[in-house]
Amino acid sequence: MSRPQPDREVAVAVQKLRLCYAKRGRLRFASHRDFQRALERALRRANVPMAFSAGFNPHPKISYANAAPTGTASEAEYFEIGVVEKVDPDQLREVLDHAMPDGFHIVDVVEASTPDFVARLEASLWRIRLVDVDGEAVRAAVAAFLAEERVEVDRATKDGHRTLETRHVVVSLDAPDGAPDDRGRPCVILTAVVRNETPSVRPDDLLNALRLVGGLALVVPPEVTRLAQGPLDPQAGTVGDPFAPDRAR
């Protein structure tokens, strides 16, 4: 015997908001699913008037854009929510940030007033901190990579392996020396602007490419942070603010 769908009223979203969050420190080891669960619970603790989908198993209306891989930190991850009562973006930022576990931080909120947000996330600015490496060797590897037209790497997937071309999405790649770490080991800060394409080229693919063409060898796992995501300025090679059109209206 099947039962009819529940007759609870489904409140319609009256406002959409776009949120930028950071994933810092120890919580960079959280997966995207871990973040999703933490966010849904924080929304409940903060009493955010979420809109829900219909049916026996309603879900809060949240859509996510390109999540950074597990293990990488980020200052620029994005999602959008629908609410059934209007909320003030600044106030939402404050209460939701407070409700999130330490390491997930809501850094910016705007009311969504323009279409095609995800398309605006054209490129990412990555900072990859390499510890216990020789700066000259890293810069030689970078030069070798940039001199190539194509650099294909192998990535292990659930179903086996796939080949990925890494060179064409890299807009810029620098490798200045950084300050030594707390144990006095030398550091190099790789800085890369990479186009967000599908399939996406991740920092570990890039390091793999540097290993292949330039013999880059790492002893200590790198510390990776996405510093920005947004529209790519093709002339300057910089990554802009994806919220700018929403803010302008």
Binding site: R3, R26, L27, F29, A42, F52, P60, D102, V107
Partner: protein, 645 residues
């Protein structure tokens, strides 16, 4: 791009933290988030300002241990003390264990990432004997000597608790002490003794003596065990003055005064239970003879409706969970469960909060409750536990369910829109024959037949889930011979064939079981004595870890370890497992008092063999199990008293 806001919350743990060294290993292991802590509601205190520091361990992976209710309760009870700090630690998976050994990173707590060896006390909560080896890994990684006799004043005092520590004898060489029963008051008593002793500069030995003298904390080293020539125990006797002959379990009364957990840590990592669990009562007097939990937690002590509602409300606000689990050993048995279910459903059914009541009682009332709790939600599956396949078997185990009860119950379930029914049974019960187990196949077919009529559909399902029976201490079956794994496996094979043979039903019936071998190791550890400690250590040295996980469990490793460690003792694995004990035998746990009268247990064992039943003392006269008299306790049940205006 807007600049990230600066945040004043500290990201760097205290000095003394091993996090920076651990951090470099985490990218190399699976699911690293389980090791980082940082949960909402986790308590981080100033290490140096504390008088007593506890590390609580659940000896399994974080994903299993983090939702554990016992640890969550004690964590809050201890951290509410102003001068006490309590942090948690879990078993690390072998990939991280290897890296920690390679890089010299010790076992750590997940709040401050402090080395476990720096705490005053390490409490280990055992739900299953198959967690014993994980404690050894943690001790070893922490740099704490495995053997209690080798520890000095500089090492934590290691204390076992939980249901699987009700016979701590197999652990006696590894633990300094064990607590039987409810932990809330026990940990506070221990804390008070340690606080005082530390202030006085008392030695480790002195602290242990003070603990032992309370009469409710077992310190194995103050007891000597003598054996008879045939390997049985002759006597267990204290070897110090003022140490009592028997150690009694703790019983917490008035649960409403202990409304914990109020705000349990909310894991960032995915875990096995993602919900706010509320214990609605403790104890069970149904009298199922196989059930150690029901025997060792007597008497029944209910929480009031108001108490339950307050914990649910506060817990949801503090955690943000979208599910509430109303827990106990048999939740439908709460004397006011109908009112509880209605009042919670009234309050939460429109708020995207789901309610669950893990109850396996075989009656229509249980289905009504499940309906009430899923007014607007999905009705996927209901679970019932007849436990025994035949009527005779159910009389032996004192699980008074008739086949008519079961058919009536599942008919109600299918008619109310439930699409799947799960049935729990056991195999290898005392006096069991092949025919008793084959009855399970017949019942499953009857269930499908009745379900198809009630629902008017053919695509309903019934899953039969079977566990191997393991005799446990402090139960009427503590004397029983455990079925050899070959017998269990052969019966399960016959049952599988019987289910498959009927094509009209085979596809509608799912069959889930485990082979009998892990049950033999569990049986060896459950009813073991002090000689089993050497077996555990040998198995651990040979690589035993995470024995509750089939992908890590190796039967042969345990058998080889037992052969080596028991050589020359005259006893072996069969002696501990498949051998039936006599009434006169001194059992390894006789000096550990669960309150149950040994005479009563023996009579109940004899009644089992005669297929005689015992009634539940909540609704029928006292059956003289002895617990209330021995422990000075009594049944606490509703109705909830409303306060007068």
């Amino acid at each position: 791009m807007s600049a990230p806001t600066t945040d004043s919350r500290p990201m760097t743990p205290n000095t003394g933290s091993v996090f920076s060294r651990l951090e470099e290993l985490l990218p190399l292991v699976s699911k690293p988030v389980q090791y980082v802590g940082g949960e909402v509601n986790a308590v981080v205190k100033d290490w140096d300002a504390m008088n007593v520091r506890w590390a609580l361990m659940y000896p399994d992976a974080y994903e299993v241990g983090a939702p554990n209710q016992g640890v969550a309760i004690l964590y809050e009870v201890l951290n509410e003390q102003a001068d006490v700090l309590c942090e948690r630690t879990y078993a690390v998976w072998p990939d991280l264990e290897a890296l920690m050994r390679e890089h010299g990173v010790p076992q750590f707590s997940i709040e401050n990432h402090r080395p476990i060896g720096e705490f005053d006390l390490m409490g280990v909560s055992f739900s299953t004997e198959l967690g014993y080896t994980n404690m050894l890994t943690a001790l070893d990684l922490a740099g704490i000597p495995l053997h209690a006799v080798d520890r000095t004043d500089a090492h934590p005092i290691v204390i076992a608790g939980g249901h699987a520590a009700f016979n701590p004898e197999p652990l006696s060489m590894f633990v300094d002490a064990a607590v039987l029963g409810d932990g809330e008051e026990a940990v506070l008593n221990i804390t008070a003794i340690v606080r005082q002793a530390k202030a006085e500069g008392a030695s480790r030995d002195e602290i242990l003596l003070r603990l032992a003298r309370t009469g409710s904390i077992y310190v194995p080293k103050f007891y000597d065990v003598d054996y008879l020539d045939d390997g049985r125990i002759r006597r267990v006797a204290p070897n110090r003055e003022d140490v009592p002959w028997r150690v009694a379990k703790h019983t917490l009364m008035d649960l409403d005064n202990w409304p914990y957990p109020k705000a349990p840590p909310v894991p960032v990592a995915e875990t096995v239970h993602e919900r706010m669990s509320v214990e609605i009562f403790r104890g069970c007097t149904r009298g199922c003879r196989f059930c150690q939990a029901g025997m060792i937690t007597r008497p029944v002590r209910e929480r009031s409706i108001d108490g339950i509602r307050a914990i649910v409300k506060g817990g949801l606000e503090a955690t943000g969970y979208e599910e509430v689990g109303l827990l106990s050993l048999s939740s439908a048995d709460h004397s006011e469960i109908a009112e509880i279910a209605k009042s919670l459903a009234d309050e939460y059914s429109e708020s995207q909060t789901s309610l669950s009541l893990p109850s396996t009682r075989v009656d229509a009332f249980n289905v009504d409750l499940a309906n009430e709790l899923t007014r607007n939600g999905r009705r996927s599956g209901l679970t019932f536990a007849p436990e025994g396949g035949s009527e005779r078997m159910r009389k032996v185990i004192n699980k008074m369910v008739t086949e008519e009860d079961l058919i009536r119950t599942v008919t109600t379930a299918y008619a109310n829109g439930w699409r799947q029914v799960k049935l729990y049974f056991m195999c290898g019960l005392p006096t069991e024959e092949d025919e008793d187990v084959l009855q399970i196949a017949r019942m499953a077919k009857e269930v499908i037949k009745a379900g198809r009529i009630a629902s008017g559909k053919r695509d309903i399902r019934c899953t039969v889930s079977i566990g191997g029976f393991v005799p446990k201490p402090h139960t009427p079956f503590q004397w029983a011979g455990q079925a050899p794994h070959e017998v269990t496996d052969a019966r399960l094979h016959l049952l599988k064939e019987a289910i498959r043979s009927d094509r009209d039903y085979a596809k509608a019936i799912g069959f889930r079981y485990h082979d009998g071998k892990p049950g033999i190791v569990e049986g060896l550890l459950s009813r073991g004595d002090r000689r089993i400690g050497a077996v555990i250590e040998q198995a651990w040295r040979d690589g035993a870890r995470f024995d509750g996980w089939s992908e890590h469990f190796r039967y042969d490793r345990w058998m080889k370890a037992a052969e080596a460690a028991l050589a020359g003792t005259g006893v072996d694995v069969d002696w501990y497992t498949t051998r039936e004990r006599t009434q006169a035998e001194v059992l390894p746990w006789d000096h550990l008092d669960s309150g149950l009268d040994k005479e009563w247990l023996w009579e109940d064992w004899q009644a089992a063999l005669d297929a005689d039943s015992v009634e539940d003392c909540r609704w029928s006269p006292c059956s003289d199990c002895g617990v209330c008299d021995q422990m000075g306790t009594f049944i606490q049940m509703g109705p909830t008293r409303t306060e007068e205006a």
